[in-house]
Amino acid sequence: MTTTEKPDYKVIGTRPIRPDGVEKVTGKALYGADIHLPDLVQGAVLRSPHAHARILSIDTSAAEAMSGVLAVVTHSDLPVVADKVLDMGEGASTASDMSKNVLAADKALYRGHAIAGVAATNVHDALTAIEAIKVEYEVLPPVLNVQDAMRDDAPLLDESRHTRNPDGEESDNASNVAAHNRFEGGDVDAAYAEADVVVEREFDTKMVHQGYIEPHNGTANWNSDGTLTVWTSTQGAFAVRGALAELLQLPVSRIRVIPMEIGGGFGGKIGVYLEPVAALLSRKCGRPVQLTMDRTDVFQATGPTSGGHMKGKIAVKDGKITAAEVSLAFEAGAFPGSPVMAGAMCMLSPYEVENFKVDAYDVVVNKPKVAAYRAPGAPNASFCVEQLIDELARETGVDPLQFRLDNSAHEGTRMITGVAHPRIGQEETVQAAQASDHYNSPIEGPNRGRGVAGGFWFNAGMQSSVVASVNPDGTVNLIEGSTDIGGTRASLAMQLAETLGIEYDSVRPTVVDTDSVGHNDVTGGSRTAYASGQAVYEAGLDIQQQMVARAAQLWECEAEDIEYVDGALRHTSDSEKTMTFAELAGKQMETGGPLQGRGSVVARSPGAAFGVHVVDVEVDPDTGKVDILRYTIAQDVGTAVHPAYVEGQMQGGVVQGIGWALNEEYYYGEDGRMENASFLDYRMPTSLDLPMIDTIIVEVPNPGHPYGVRGVGEVPIVPPLAAIANAVHDATGHRFTELPISPRRVVEELHNLQ
């Protein structure tokens, strides 16, 4: 579905097969754990059995003496690093916190916190050896949720941490609240006093994991010349290089990160866990070392996203939202850095809200340090706001999509940050959902209900660079540095082919290591098709300009007399003089030598993404099971470069949201042990749990991109939590304010009602 006129593209909008496809369906693609090197040894990591404990001593002597053991490392092998902020792309951390997270220093702050690493001739010997490491702990009481952590008498994770308050000052007392921020505008109290309806509720969500199928891995070779080579599955090879440089105190030029294929990330494979440990082990034993996590490690010791507690109060007068007051407290895990600010800045952005007061608390707890997860912070916050909006629509007797349309933000509407929206597709997206077959079909039968919700995500820009080398046969090698998680090789090759007016198959993209291309920020923030696409476009224009100059040289005319159209060069006044891209590509030696185009951007106009979801559910009142009967997602994608891959992002994000809404949670015992750290007990959706996911592609081109591209990947996970809660309310009359809406919770809450 197209809502705005767009140019007649030749490649953009088609559905070609991805360049890396055959390797991936035949098992030949090499992921991080697939790398085998001469002399490679394996390792294992000892992890804390306690959620909160002081580390009194670590004795590695017995492990070091075991047969097959080559090296043992602990935090003391890491250099001391400054408190410098490291922004790896989605979520910042300080170098010293990252260092303490990689290998625990004086305290273990969550169960699974890495204590020591071992390298051995095989993984079984390494696993045996970590059991021989003697650690003396002073076990401390853990804090496991934000309410407990914010109490005055709460055990402190770090006695030296004080709250950074909205005024920029630090609190007098030490606290688990790392930061409190506030956005304020207008006069909420006056708006509440004049309102027709005010609704107010509290909400809770649990920590959840990205759930990528490939566990983390890291392979390192510390060469005898002091250079370090690392093979890893990461969303950003340059982010890994930068983190390693800080943690190991090496110049970035000495570190080469080779990005292997990646088995999913969703934000969770931006930070470093195993790579620095493998590097230290390799330096100590003089051989390449490979570390891989098992699934329990992935759950317990990588970064999930925050659970938290939220309070919301929204007022309506004459069908318009007049005031919103929301307080968000998110778990950061063991070190500061939850996505609470992103949640705060997103949740009201689809709407016009003049009077607002939003508080955001970043709270440390004895759980793994959170990492980015697809639109980090926004799904939780929207779970709160979009349910309150549903309630307001009901109380005022307005259709819930019409209520959203009546209150929609548009070009010029200011977000709570004060930034005005550029051209956005919020209204078009709501209208697309209103016009859908799904929304116009009746929902009938007992225990069935329909829910809707909207969502917003900023999308990111950041830095990308590419090089495109023209081959004598008219094909092009595109050298890029953006990790391809779901088809970006294809979407970038398509944009280059479009710019050059050549066939998609004529462009061969390759993702290369950090020595082989300029800096590229992470594949995250839904930025790659947009920002790396812009770099590709610039490289294409660069090639066009060079080709025009070379044609001028061949035809002995001025460059101004030549135009580049549809993959060919033409003399504007002499129709005899034409040359195809391939013909000129074959004349490189006689026209100045190898032809390379270069694109380098700091992309600053990502174009925000909006999605509106419609879902039908059936609730079994006896078992508490919620079935998804039908699901439709409408989303403004700007321009769908590869519509099938766009649909895939939409469908995948929705299904992660369905899991979050209905089943997924980190389930903790009082001792701080995660009791469901396996795919059996942390239940992600299977094919049997789901219907087909219907997609409606809305295209309101992003004015900040040559082809109108907006980021696509993240916003689909924002609405499902609230959309499903709204549908379950429609089916049962009961509002679920705590996630997940699991069979147990449904039975308990419905039973208590009766």
């Binding site: 369906v25 035949t26 098992g27 079984h124 098992d294 099938a644 895939g648 995948g652 996911i693």
Partner: protein
């Protein structure tokens, strides 16, 4: 080092032998001893299906099978699904239907789906969803995977 056992088996149509420790899983043998890394480890306890291989025509999680159990068996991995340069219809349909994103679960899905279509070439959507419930995918939401399997089931090479 524990004593290693000599195992003879058929792997992707070829008779081979290998040595393995009793504690090594078939997954570990395939990946670390035989260099066949197309079979992936996602959980190592039988919950995700990324390590699916066929043993005597049945889908098994190779992380939950010992290497020594391959003695005398007929094992097919993702590396044995295509016929030389000719992709299996499932592989072709996964590409055409955009049924993979990161691709790490893809080998397991293709192997599991092959076992289904080998025995039930007319499987419908409900049957496909039920059969593939042992394979986790976190990227696609399964929509395009199910469509790819159904499309492959309609191709002549499979239904013949």
């Amino acid at each position: 080092m524990p004593r290693r056992t000599h195992i003879q088996t058929t792997l992707n149509g070829e008779e081979i032998d290998f040595l393995c420790e009793p504690r090594q899983s078939l997954l570990e043998v395939l990946r670390d001893e035989l260099g066949l890394t197309g079979t992936k480890e996602g959980c190592n306890n039988g919950n995700c299906g990324a390590c699916s291989v066929l043993m005597d025509g049945r889908v098994v999680n190779s992380c939950c099978v010992l290497g020594v159990e391959a003695e005398g068996a007929d094992v097919v991995t993702i590396e044995g699904v295509a016929d030389g340069d000719t992709l299996h219809p499932l592989q072709q349909c996964f590409l055409e239907e955009a049924a993979l994103q990161c691709g790490v679960c893809t080998p397991g899905f293709i192997v599991a789906a092959k076992a289904l279509l080998d025995s039930e070439p007319d499987a419908d959507e409900g049957r496909v969803r039920h059969w593939l419930a042992g394979n986790l995918c976190r990227c696609t939401g399964y929509d395009k995977i199910v469509r790819a399997v159904l499309k492959a089931s309609e191709m002549e090479e499979v239904s013949a």
